[in-house]
């Protein structure tokens, strides 16, 4: 230490433990959470907002987290809650905006429409919010029915119902265009 050159240290080099922890969480989970949200919300802008909201909540509530190891689970749950509330609000608004035509598919989307995966995504987009959420949790996150029930805050029976109806609708929609 005696030989330490005297210079002011940069405040930017200093971070609190909570900041480091959340920075690490961001590095590990941000992209995958945005992808999860985007499967529920269609547009990346809203998805990023929902995920950023979740990070801000977890960051500010860090001291109240009983177990920091559970932070990724809290984050996912905050993202699902945020996405659900956006979907709900959007559907209510859409239902009351009959004069506004649905957004026209972009040229790119049109070019890809023949693509199977795009047709599945499009079909997913017209499912009710809860059914869509069930499909994403089941087939994207590979959650069990019990885990889905916890994540969606509904009973395992309701999970089955949502999933069943969703698949029936998807089957019908995709069958028609196949």
């Amino acid at each position: 230490m005696a030989s330490m050159a005297f210079h002011p240290s940069a405040p930017t080099a200093v971070t609190a433990p909570v900041d480091e922890a959340v920075t690490q969480l961001h590095r590990d989970h941000y992209r995958s959470l945005v992808r999860l949200a985007a499967l529920l919300l269609d547009d990346i802008g809203s998805s990023e907002e929902v995920v950023q909201d979740a990070f801000v909540k977890v960051h500010l509530g860090w001291a109240r987290l009983a177990d920091p190891e559970r932070a990724p689970a809290y984050l996912r749950s905050a993202v699902l809650n945020g996405a659900r509330s956006r979907m709900r609000h959007r559907q209510v608004q859409d239902r009351h905006l009959e004069a506004v035509p649905p957004p026209a598919p972009s040229a790119e989307a049109g070019a890809l429409a023949a693509d199977e995966h795009h047709r599945v995504i499009a079909a997913l987009g017209v499912l009710p919010a809860r059914q869509r959420e069930a499909v994403v949790l089941r087939y994207y996150l590979d959650l069990s029915e019990a885990e889905m029930a916890t994540a969606m805050a509904i009973s395992a029976g309701s999970v089955k119902t949502h999933l069943h109806r969703a698949l029936a609708t998807l089957h019908e929609t995709l069958g028609e265009t196949r």
Partner: protein
């Protein structure tokens, strides 16, 4: 079904794999956290005390189109009407009781009539039943909160996750019913009771309100706002006018912390709006943003879009001082009364030293124990040169060692250079740079911003 399940799985993963977030998210999150901390009463990193968040409910009112769009005006989307509303000065309590801890992943609670868990509990114990019927809650909300006159109330329709939706609609001329759709406002109610085989049960609380002609993009539900708040979205209304109100919890129709208006489309097309509304400091943690349209004929409320919001703690600001854990600098946030002298406030907190709680967590400061209040003067000139003058009480023998003096200067420099306006700093003891550095067994020098 298996073929479908497989193709759904493949499609989801392919689609998700093609999504790449933009840059700068980490910075945006940190910025928002920083702003929230600055405004909220939050302890240092290890021991956050009750964060104070006030929810603001903003109500936006849209002036209705007279008769089915018969007053069509050729107007394109209009932007940016300023919501000028002088904010009057009101005595503000600077002490806000900590709100109860809440699960970090919880949704924001509702708007009306319940704001707190205690309120719900009191209602349950009272034996009162007036908030047990969703249609009745929607009617009371439309009249008492939105200010509608004798609206038509629809049947409750079950929606997602234990919520129901009730449509309310103003009456036309001479009380004639209006056709469904054009002037509807959907009120979303949340079930606060248990579920039964017949569905969710009351009491019911209004979560939000969406109307067919007022489409609010921001602020979104639950967002913390400060005055002036920016309100964006799209709408169509008579002469394009949408009224905007910021209300605290407990306020009803006719009451607001601040009012203004935005101008969207005048019909038949929607036009985007963007404006700002100023409001008085809130005395509650939470509230709502209310957007309303009113009748051209008699000024009665026609439609409303309402979201819950939270208010930042009034009259407070957050500053950061740097203490030490071993030889590591640790930033510590302090909430102090709102002040323009953030540099001075930060230095005062630095001199005051770590709290007992922080000390037991291993934090120390190299200033003398009696240094609190020994900040004599802080000046900054137009070129970013800052002079900080201390009183004799700051002197502590342990800072006279090589390691000690280096660390003490690191504490000081980190605290001072956190402000980008500070380019260089000179420390003085009782007016003398030489005396200050003599204490540290160094020679007087003006310290430049690192990396600058």
């Amino acid at each position: 079904m298996n073929r479908d399940e497989e193709s759904v799985r493949r499609a989801l993963h392919r689609h998700a794999g093609g999504i790449e977030p933009g840059d700068g998210s980490q910075e945006r999150i940190q910025q928002r956290v920083h702003e929230a901390r600055r405004r909220r009463r939050l302890g240092w990193a290890g021991g956050a005390t009750g964060a104070v968040a006030a929810a603001v409910l903003v109500v936006v009112a849209v002036t209705s189109l007279a008769g089915n769009g018969s007053r069509v005006v050729e107007t394109g989307p209009t932007d940016t009407a300023s919501l000028a509303l002088p904010s009057t000065t009101v005595a503000v309590a600077t002490t806000v009781a900590p709100s109860p801890s809440e699960d970090v992943a919880q949704d924001a609670s509702g708007i009306w009539p319940f704001h707190t868990a205690a309120g719900i509990e009191a209602y349950r114990e009272s034996g009162d039943a007036r908030y047990d019927d969703p249609a009745e809650v929607a009617r009371a909300f439309a009249v008492e909160y939105l200010g509608m006159v004798d609206p038509e109330i629809g049947q409750p329709v079950p929606s997602d996750a234990g919520t129901v939706e009730v449509t309310v609609r103003p009456r036309g001329e001479a009380g004639q019913p209006l056709p469904p759709g054009a002037m509807d406002t959907a009120i979303i109610l949340d079930s606060l009771g248990g579920g039964s085989p017949s569905g969710p049960e009351g009491p019911w609380n209004v979560l939000s309100t969406a109307s067919s002609n007022i489409h609010l993009d921001g602020p979104v539900s639950g967002r913390e706002i400060t005055s002036p708040a920016t309100v964006t979205g799209e709408s169509r209304a008579f002469e394009g006018t949408v009224e905007v109100e910021v209300r605290g919890d407990g306020m009803g129709a006719g009451e607001a912390l601040g009012r203004g208006f935005v101008t969207g489309g005048a019909g038949p097309d929607f036009g985007s709006f963007s404006g700002q509304v100023s409001f008085d400091p809130a005395t509650t943690d939470e509230g709502a943003l209310v957007l309303l349209t009113t009748s051209a004929a008699d000024g009665s409320v026609q439609q409303a879009t309402v979201v819950d919001i939270s208010f930042s703690a009034p009259g407070q600001t957050e500053v950061t001082a740097f203490f030490l854990r071993g030889e590591e600098l640790v930033p510590v946030s302090r909430t102090v009364p709102a002040t323009t002298g953030v540099l001075r406030a930060s230095l005062e907190q630095l001199l005051a030293g770590p709290t007992e709680e922080e000390q037991s967590a291993g934090l120390i400061s190299l200033f003398a124990a009696g240094a609190a209040g020994e900040l004599r003067d802080v000046t900054i000139d137009g070129n970013g040169k800052t002079v900080v003058d201390f009183g004799p009480g700051v002197v502590n023998g342990s800072a006279g060692t090589s390691t000690g003096s280096t660390l003490l200067l690191e504490q000081l420099n980190a605290t001072v250079f956190q402000f980008s306006t500070v380019e260089r700093v000179e420390y003085r003891l009782e007016g003398s740079c030489g005396a200050f550095f003599e204490w540290l067994q160094r020679g007087c020098e003006v310290i430049e911003r690192p990396g600058g």
